[in-house]
Symmetry: C2
């Protein structure tokens, strides 16, 4: 698995000695996030001990809390000085955690963030039900907050996420899937929650609709950027750093953009290869490596990063309407960080 | 499987020629329920065709729509003349349907209401995700209604249902489970939604808290009655009429009241039998029949019905504060109908 992706052009606006990080975002939200974590721990409590055990396993495994950080930072960007954004950030993280639990059941994953996944430890049954519990708790937190607008944004987002996941089921193992349909899937299953997380930041701050829309567009395009890079990384040597098994998408026959580009740019013989490995899941030793060779031959990984840059640019422009300041800078850098992960 | 339960005493207040039915409830809610069904069909629609297909399979399979009927009738009992109860009744049914979809995954059931279960037809993945979709849509419907009180009741109910399901996981195959813990499970996983369905009827009608509480108590105890009889029927010849495979609970090692009573009233040899069959799931031909013999020996099925009568009486008394009328009569009769199913 020594395959390293050859990326032609470097990332935008980045000099080698100032690599983009999430440090600004992390530092800006540190104090608030510590309160969010307390709310998370309180709210996942239950006399049914399996619930905090299982939820704690996933939450202890970490994850960057990127979605709650987006809610917190969006609210601050909008000048919000209250406390409501913390509970809402927790409810966003609960919705995310619930979908992770259900995803792992759907994907039959055995690893999550480098640890054994909850379903591998406690079984699918518990993962389905604890996911339901966290999802319900998310809504309880929102009801406690009391804003029907926020409830509207997050209940709508939840429907769309579920729709996206079902749509993804129907594209899996289908090499006919096109880029448009793929985009539809990643918008729904990933970018929608990023988008909602940002929008509710503007909502609690009671800002004009134009600012809500700007943050929603930012979140949506950040989410697309993030998922494109994630899907590209599944075929790159950097994947190991993410704690996920390399080539997971290939093994499952998931149709992501690197595959779509390689399939469309390939010849008949190559398409036979993709159909055998991803549609029929008839895979042999060396197939993953051969797939990556084909991707490199067709610049599919580089161009996936290029596509990501496009959406990243849209995200950056969307928040151009806000005045410069530390929150805006941190959000802009999060885009560069996403893209930088590709290297 | 020719075992017929011998019930000592007849049901309360029932003469042979006027058996209790749900007819009054059905007739009273017929017009409203037809609107509820339209809302259900509209709201389960999605461009992702697998969603209406799968949801439609379950919803077409029927079910009595008992929970929406409870919301509709409770609202009318409280003198409500508006339209809001219809959307809320639909959202209650969506929450119920979502839990059914997830239950079937958890139980690995192959039958639901006499038809192939959704997971058997479309796979567990789709059932998990479409369940999530319906659940989210339920909250969208509530947000559309606009009452934070209703959202509070149903989000709390959803958390408790999930908690109850997880608790049930930990009691399955555990013959040490006592009646108190069993009651906790059925209150959470079944009775909670009956209770919430009734309470929101009073909520839309803007009635005093005492009426909300009365309807909540009614729903809770109706739900307990319903589940006790359901669990008893799983060991009775009447089960076939319900479209469920006979002896399902036994096969899965679920610990329900008939088992709990038989285990506690039994001798050492009998307890060895229960442990072998339900804890170790080491089952042979004739074991189910032997289990039913033991239940009859210890009056476990009759006494499960007796326990159900107790909760049914509490339910009836709870709505004593409402004036007599067709809605009250129909709700009272639904209790007798539940118990009558045992015969």
């Amino acid at each position: 698995m020594g395959v390293v992706v050859n990326i032609g052009s470097g990332p935008d606006n980045i000099s080698p000695d100032s690599e983009p990080t999430l440090n600004d975002l992390i530092n800006l939200t540190k104090a608030d996030l510590s309160d969010v974590n307390k709310i998370i721990l309180q709210s996942m409590n239950s006399p049914v001990t399996l619930i905090p055990q299982l939820a704690g396993h996933l939450i202890a495994a970490g994850g960057k809390r990127i979605r709650p950080m987006l809610t917190l930072t969006s609210a601050r960007l909008c000048g919000y000085n209250g406390e409501r954004h913390k509970g809402l950030a927790a409810s966003v993280e609960f919705i995310h955690t619930a979908t992770l639990l259900h995803d792992d059941v759907v994907d039959e994953s055995s690893l999550r963030r480098g640890l054994a996944s909850a379903n591998a430890v406690w079984g699918n049954q518990a993962s389905v039900l604890v996911g339901d519990f966290l999802f319900s708790r998310a809504f309880e937190l929102m009801v406690g907050d009391g804003s029907l607008d926020v409830l509207g944004v997050l209940s709508r987002a939840s429907s769309i996420i579920a729709e996206g996941e079902v749509l993804q089921l129907t594209t899996t193992n289908n090499t006919e899937t096109g880029e448009t349909q793929y985009l539809e899937v990643i918008k729904s299953k990933t970018a929608q929650l990023f988008s909602a997380a940002c929008r509710i930041g503007a909502l609690v701050a009671n800002r004009p609709k134009v600012e809500e829309d700007a943050l929603e567009t930012f979140g949506m395009n950040l989410g697309i950027t993030f998922q494109l890079i994630d899907d590209m990384l599944d075929y790159s040597a950097h994947q190991r750093d993410l704690g996920k098994a390399v080539g997971d998408d290939f093994k499952e026959g998931k149709i992501t953009l690197p595959v779509i580009l390689s399939f469309r740019r390939g010849n008949d013989e190559e398409r036979v290869f993709w159909r055998r490995t991803l549609e029929n899941l008839n895979q042999e030793d060396g197939d993953l490596e051969h797939g990556i060779e084909l991707m490199n031959k067709h610049n599919a990984l580089e161009d996936t990063v290029e596509r990501a840059r496009h959406y990243g640019s849209i995200a950056k422009d969307a928040i151009g309407i806000f005045e410069d300041g530390p929150e805006k800078k941190a959000l802009l850098e999060s885009i560069d960080f996403c893209i930088r992960r590709a290297f």
